[in-house]
Amino acid sequence: MTIKTIFSGFGGQGVLSMGFTLANAAMLEGKYVTYLPSYGVEVRGGTANCTVVVSDEEIASPVASEPEFVVAMNQPSFARFQSVLPSGGLICVNSSIVNTTSARGDIEVLTVPTSELAEKMGTIKVANMIMLGAFLKASNMISFDLMLNNLQEILGEGKAKMIKLNRQALEAGYAFVKE
């Protein structure tokens, strides 16, 4: 089984971190994984995206022409990437700043008010981890518990002080999505 996900949004929203965190967690589970950032002429405040492929077998191409999942953190990303989803695909949308009335009828849309949820935790900076938590619940592609238990290793030394906050954010997003 090969699952491709595109994470997209403004530069600075933590879009690449979301993908990197997922890729690292999947690696710890022993899966094959590739992470490909968009490395176009991107600027802060411009759009950024990355593609994460998680698989039980060797991955041929790190590029996702038909991703199973899309995470869109801003309006331009929503417009651009909802169109690449095959029918029945899931798009997780940051509904705090994205209007989803133009969503295609043949895809599933999960709206997560990340800004509101993040404000409850005192900082907008964790919006990406809230979204990642919600995405992991909805996609069910890796073990959430294994990820939380290894969060220190996954996020790396640089984020050592932020482990608790990130864990809370992931859990808040995870809890937000109902079965």
């Binding site: 890729a23 590739t34 992470y35 950032p37 490395y39 041929a60 191409s61 790190p62």
Partner: protein, 355 residues
């Protein structure tokens, strides 16, 4: 233990572990992460890192470090590689070891920053002026990069010749789990040519200016014999489902990886398709290709260019095999499904033709 690293960063780590003590680079996308990684890592390991003022300066710094006996490396991407060619020619003429990395991007000219394989000719035909060759290694995954880097340094020292690692933007940028456990400490190579100060020994000279035509000719034949030894001893390739293959895909680097995805699908539909993946683009694995032709296979060459390696396949076959070509130049990354469709079309057309 495995770490999630970009090809560029993994290449840098592998180089340091392989004993690279001198790195000189000038920024260009899509290989900047390598320069960035080396800026931090090489000084940590006690080596020398310099961000030079240009690509030309960087390759000449490599020459200087190499002539002093260090394991030296530089890296760039297509337009920058063009600038380095003069220096590579000098390295080859002076018989100095060096590793030069090219993370190829779309061209010609300034081109773009997307992955491409359009510098095959430049890498495999010497690239600069004069009768010389460089060994060209083409890894297909981040893990393989870490295995190829120590090999590149060893081959460079063994033959006293520059070695090119030919990657592409995607290989440099993508992250994959990678382990460095297999990298052994660097071997010692006797270096009786380096300039270390002549106190207590006769002086040495490293130069490529040979006015005497006889002397220059002899030097050329000497280099030529060295290239022959490389051709005899250093051919490397990988095969995939080759034994019963009626159609043999020939692709390298990231292209081979995409092709492998296509071949898996083709096999699911019982199409007998296999692959030969050259790991050394020069010396080119001509013999195995010729053998596959003797078994009656047809060939499908895929490149992310308008067709360069396909000429080496033709040379290998000496007119004795049927070759199909599919290329996507300009930085376009085709999908395995696209390749699946194209290969399957050729497969069925040839099968019909045979009846």
């Amino acid at each position: 233990m495995k770490r999630l690293m970009s090809g560029n960063a993994a290449l840098g780590e592998a180089a340091v572990l392989a004993g690279c003590t001198c790195y000189f680079g000038y920024p260009i996308t899509p290989q900047n992460e390598l320069t960035e990684y080396m800026a931090k890592r090489v000084p940590e390991a006690g080596g020398v890192f310099i961000q030079s003022e240009s690509e030309i300066a960087a390759i000449n710094m490599v020459l200087g470090a190499s002539v002093a006996g260090a394991r030296a490396m530089t890296s760039s991407s297509s337009p920058g590689m063009s600038l380095k060619q003069e220096g590579i020619s000098y390295l080859a003429a002076d018989e100095l070891p060096a590793v030069v990395v090219d993370m190829v991007r779309g061209g010609p000219g300034m081109g773009n920053i997307s992955p491409a394989q359009s510098d095959y000719f430049q890498a495999t035909r010497g690239g600069g002026h004069g009768d010389y060759k460089t060994i060209v290694l083409a890894p297909g995954s981040v893990q393989e990069l870490t295995e190829i880097v120590p090999l590149a340094f060893d081959l460079a020292d063994k033959y006293r010749n520059p070695v090119i690692i030919l990657g592409d933007g995607m290989l440099g940028q993508m992250m994959e789990p990678v382990s460095f456990d297999n990298i052994k400490p660097p071997k010692e190579y006797p270096k009786d040519y380096i300039l270390t100060g002549a106190k207590g020994r006769p002086s040495r000279m490293v130069r490529s200016l040979l006015f005497d035509t006889k002397e220059e000719e002899e030097h050329n034949w000497k280099l030529f014999r060295k290239y022959q030894r490389m051709e005899q001893n250093e051919v490397r390739y990988d095969t995939f489902l080759l034994d019963d293959a009626e159609m043999v895909v020939i692709a390298y680097g990231i292209g081979a990886r995409i092709a492998k995805g296509a071949i898996k699908r083709l096999r699911q539909e019982n199409l007998k398709v296999g692959m030969i993946r050259p790991i050394t683009l020069w010396p080119f694995p001509a013999k195995i290709i010729k053998e596959a032709a003797q078994n009656g296979a047809e060939f499908f060459v895929f490149e992310m260019s308008a067709g360069q390696m396909v000429e080496d396949v033709k040379l290998a076959l000496e007119g004795k095999g049927r070759i199909h070509f599919y290329g996507r130049p300009g930085g376009v990354i085709p999908t395995p499904i696209e390749l699946f469709r194209v290969i399957s079309r050729h497969y069925y057309q040839s099968r019909r033709g045979k009846k």
